[in-house]
C-alpha cells in the first residue's frame, strides 16, 4: 500500500484551486468510485438489471466539470460521469434508485443505470445515441444567449462520439451561433472495444475541435482533478463572458471494459496497470491532500465518511418501492389530448 501510494503522482499545485475545492473534489471522486464498485457487486449478484457502465479512471473529469459550473448552469453528463451528477446535487440514493429501477428513481423505473437526469438540478438525461446531446446543449446555450442570461450549458463527448455526425453538427452550430456552451472531450482511449486510432486519424481531439470547428480547446490530464478544474473553470467563464463555445479535452484511460460484461482484455494490460498505479484520480487527489497537510488518519476518515454516505444511500434506495406497471403510460405526453 505504501509503495503504491508513493508511486502516485499528486495533483497539480495550482494556486487558484483552494484546499476546500480539493476536499470537495475528493468527496466527489470517492463517491463516484464507491457507488460504482457497489453497483458492480449488485450487478454480479443479479440485483441490478441491464448493464453497468463505469467511469473508473475518469472520475476526476466529471467531478471537475460539475464542480466548475455555477448554480444556474446546466449540463448533460454521459455514462462515465456519475461525479458530475453528484456535483450538481444528485444524491447517491437517487443514483442507486435508478440502478435498481425503483418506482421513485429519477426515471421512475423507466430507464436504468446512468440514464437519468434531474430536471430540478439542470441535468439532462443521457440517451444511448452518444453525440445526440451535443446539439441539445447548444440549444440550451442558445436560449441563454437569446435571453441575455449569464449561464452556460455543458456536455461531454467521448472519443467514440467524435465520429458521429451529431457532434459535428452540434459543434459547428455552437461555433456559428457563438453560444455559451462548453464541450468536455473525454479522451479515454476506447470506444467499446475500438481504440481511438481506429476512430480517427488525428487523435488529438483538442486539435480537431480548435482547428476544425474554430472552438478554442485546451488539453489536460484528466486524471488530475485539480488541473482539470483549472481548465474547466477557465472554459466555463470564457463561455459565460460571451467568448462563444469552449472545449477541454481530458486525456485519461478507461480502466474498466465498456460495460460490466466486458473485461477489457483487448486493452494493453501494462498501460492499464501503470495508469491505475500512478494516475488513479482518487489516489492523485489523496496524494495532493497529503501535501495540504492531511494525515493518513484524516484521509482515512474522509474515505470512511464517503463509504458511509454510499452505504446509507444504498440502504435508503433498497427500501424504495418497485415501480407500478399501472404507471407505464404516465407522462408519454406532457399535454393530454383533448
Amino acid at each position: 500500500m505504501a509503495t503504491e501510494r508513493a508511486a502516485t503522482i499528486p495533483c497539480d499545485d495550482s494556486s487558484e484551486v483552494t484546499r476546500e475545492d480539493r476536499l470537495a473534489l475528493f468527496r466527489l471522486v470517492l463517491l463516484h468510485r464507491l457507488i460504482e464498485e457497489r453497483v458492480g457487486l449488485l450487478y454480479r449478484q443479479g440485483r441490478v438489471s441491464g448493464s453497468v457502465y463505469t467511469g473508473r479512471g475518469q472520475e476526476a473529469v466529471g467531478a471537475a466539470a460539475g464542480y466548475a459550473l455555477g448554480p444556474d448552469d446546466v449540463c448533460a453528463p454521459l455514462n462515465r460521469e456519475l461525479a458530475c451528477h453528484l456535483a450538481r446535487g444528485v444524491t447517491p440514493t437517487e443514483a442507486f434508485r435508478n440502478f435498481l429501477g425503483k418506482g421513485d428513481s429519477p426515471t421512475r423505473g423507466r430507464d436504468g443505470n446512468m440514464h437519468f437526469g434531474a430536471r430540478e438540478h439542470g441535468v439532462f438525461p443521457l440517451v444511448s445515441m452518444l453525440g445526440d446531446l451535443c446539439p441539445v446543449v447548444v440549444g440550451a446555450a442558445l436560449a441563454f444567449k437569446r435571453r441575455r442570461e449569464p449561464r452556460v450549458a455543458l456536455t461531454f463527448c467521448g472519443d467514440g462520439a467524435m465520429s458521429t455526425g451529431d457532434v459535428h453538427e452540434g459543434l459547428n452550430l455552437a461555433a456559428v451561433l457563438k453560444v455559451p456552451a462548453v464541450f468536455v472531450l473525454q479522451s479515454n482511449g476506447w470506444a467499446y472495444s475500438t481504440p481511438t486510432s481506429r476512430q480517427m486519424m488525428n487523435t488529438c481531439l483538442a486539435d480537431r475541435v480548435e482547428g476544425g470547428w474554430g472552438i478554442p480547446a485546451a488539453r489536460v490530464d484528466g486524471s488530475d482533478a485539480v488541473l482539470t478544474l483549472v481548465e474547466l473553470r477557465a472554459a466555463v467563464e470564457r463561455a459565460r463572458s460571451g467568448a462563444g463555445p469552449q472545449a477541454v479535452e481530458a486525456v485519461t484511460l478507461r480502466l474498466d471494459g465498456h460495460a460490466a460484461h466486458d473485461d477489457g482484455s483487448y486493452m494493453d494490460q501494462a498501460e492499464r496497470t501503470e495508469y491505475a498505479e500512478k494516475r488513479d484520480p482518487v489516489e492523485r487527489l489523496a496524494a495532493r491532500l497529503r501535501l495540504d497537510g492531511l494525515s493518513e488518519g484524516e484521509l482515512e476518515a474522509l474515505r470512511t465518511a464517503a463509504a458511509d454516505e454510499v452505504s446509507a444511500g444504498l440502504q435508503e434506495a433498497e427500501a424504495s418501492p418497485a415501480p407500478d406497471p399501472a404507471t407505464i403510460l404516465d407522462g408519454v405526453y406532457a399535454t393530454k389530448l383533448t
Binding site: 441539445v136 440549444g139 440550451a140 437569446r146 399535454t335
Partner: protein
C-alpha cells in the same frame, strides 16, 4: 374579411405566436432574409430580428436537436425543414430525444417541427415524399397534417402552445391552391381531433393533408349518386379513433385515402383500428386508396399517375358503393 392562402395562414400563425409569446422563435435553413424555400417565413426577419428568425447551417439533426435543448430551457422553438424528406436527417433526435424525454424525466420539450411534404410539384423522390408514416405510432410524438387554411392556422397555434414535440406536416401543393377567409387569431384546432369536412351518410372517406381536397372534389362529383362523408383526420397521430368509428357507424362503408404509399402513412393505423373496433359496423371491406409502393417519381406523367386523383377516387368509391 380578406382571403388568405394556406401558406399565408402558416406565416400569420407564426407571426401571431411570436407577437404573443417571447419564447417562440423560428430556426432553420434560409428562413431569414430569404424567407425559406417557399417564402413561408418572408417578412418575419424584418419584424422579429435575427435572434428570433435564425438562419442555421445545413444541419437538420443539429438544429432540431438544438430546438429540443432550447425547449428544455423553457423556449418554444419552431424548427423549419426545407422539405419533409429531410426529416430523415433529424430522425434520431426526434425519436430519441424528442419522443422519450418527458416520459423518462418530466422535462417538457415543446418543439414544433414544420415540414413541407407531399407531391404535385414535380419534386421527385427527395422533395415530394410523405414521411409522416415514419412517426405514426411513436409514443411521445404528435403528428398533424392540416388540410385546410383554417387548420393550417389553428393547428400551428395549438402545436406551438402544446408541451410535446409536434411534427407539423404542411402540404406544399396546398400553399397557394387553398384560399379562405383569414382565420381569427384566437382560432385553435384541437390536436388529436378529426373533423367532418363534409357530412354524408353512404360512405366515409378518411383523409388528411392534400387528400382532403381530393376527397371533397370526389364527393362533389358523386353528389347525385351517393352521400359521401369526408373525415379530415387533421392529427394523424395519435388518431381520433372515436371520430372514425362514429362516422363509420353512420355510413357502414369506409375508404381510407392518403397520398403516402399504401404500405406507410396513416392507413395502417386507421385500418387496424377499424378491423379491431369497427368490424361489425362494416357492410363492405374497407377500401384503401393510396400511392403505389414506390418512391415519388419526377416526370409529370409518372407523378400524375402516382398520386391518387379525383377521377380514381370517384371510380373506386363507386365500386365500394356497389359492394
Amino acid at each position: 374579411m380578406a382571403e388568405v392562402t394556406y401558406l399565408e395562414a402558416i406565416r400569420t400563425a407564426m407571426a401571431d405566436a411570436m407577437r404573443d409569446d417571447e419564447r417562440v422563435f423560428l430556426m432553420g435553413e434560409d428562413v431569414g432574409h430569404f424567407g425559406g424555400p417557399f417564402g413561408v417565413s418572408k417578412g418575419l426577419l424584418d419584424e422579429f430580428g435575427a435572434e428570433r428568425v435564425i438562419d442555421t447551417p445545413i444541419a437538420e439533426e443539429g438544429f432540431v436537436g438544438a430546438a429540443f435543448g432550447a425547449a428544455w430551457m423553457g423556449e418554444r422553438p419552431i424548427a423549419e425543414l426545407q422539405f419533409a424528406d429531410f426529416i430523415s436527417c433529424a430522425f434520431d433526435s426526434i425519436v430519441t430525444v424528442g419522443a422519450k424525454t418527458h416520459w423518462r424525466s418530466g422535462i417538457k420539450l415543446p418543439v414544433v417541427i414544420r415540414s413541407p411534404f407531399g407531391g404535385g410539384v414535380r419534386g421527385g423522390p427527395f422533395h415530394a415524399s410523405c414521411p409522416e408514416g415514419f412517426f405514426i405510432g411513436t409514443a411521445g410524438l404528435k403528428v398533424v397534417c392540416p388540410g385546410s387554411v383554417e387548420d393550417a392556422y389553428g393547428l400551428l397555434r395549438s402545436a406551438i402552445e402544446d408541451d410535446d414535440p409536434v411534427l407539423y406536416f404542411e402540404h406544399k401543393a396546398l400553399y397557394r391552391r387553398l384560399k379562405a377567409e383569414a382565420p381569427e387569431s384566437t382560432l385553435r384546432t384541437p390536436i388529436g381531433r378529426a373533423c367532418i369536412a363534409r357530412p354524408g351518410s353512404d360512405v366515409t372517406v378518411v383523409a388528411y393533408g392534400a387528400m382532403v381536397d381530393i376527397a371533397l372534389r370526389a364527393a362533389g362529383a358523386l353528389e347525385s349518386e351517393a352521400s359521401v362523408e369526408v373525415l379530415d383526420l387533421r392529427t394523424v397521430w395519435p388518431l381520433d379513433g372515436e371520430a372514425i368509428l362514429a362516422s363509420l357507424a353512420r355510413t357502414s362503408r369506409v375508404c381510407v385515402l392518403q397520398e403516402a404509399s399504401s404500405s406507410i402513412g396513416a392507413a395502417g393505423a386507421v385500418l387496424s383500428l377499424i378491423a379491431r373496433e369497427g368490424f361489425e359496423l362494416l357492410d363492405a371491406p374497407p377500401l384503401l386508396i393510396a400511392a403505389p409502393i414506390a418512391p415519388v417519381p419526377f416526370a409529370p406523367e409518372l407523378e400524375d399517375a402516382y398520386i391518387p386523383s379525383v377521377e380514381r377516387v370517384v371510380e373506386e368509391l363507386r365500386r365500394l358503393g356497389g359492394y
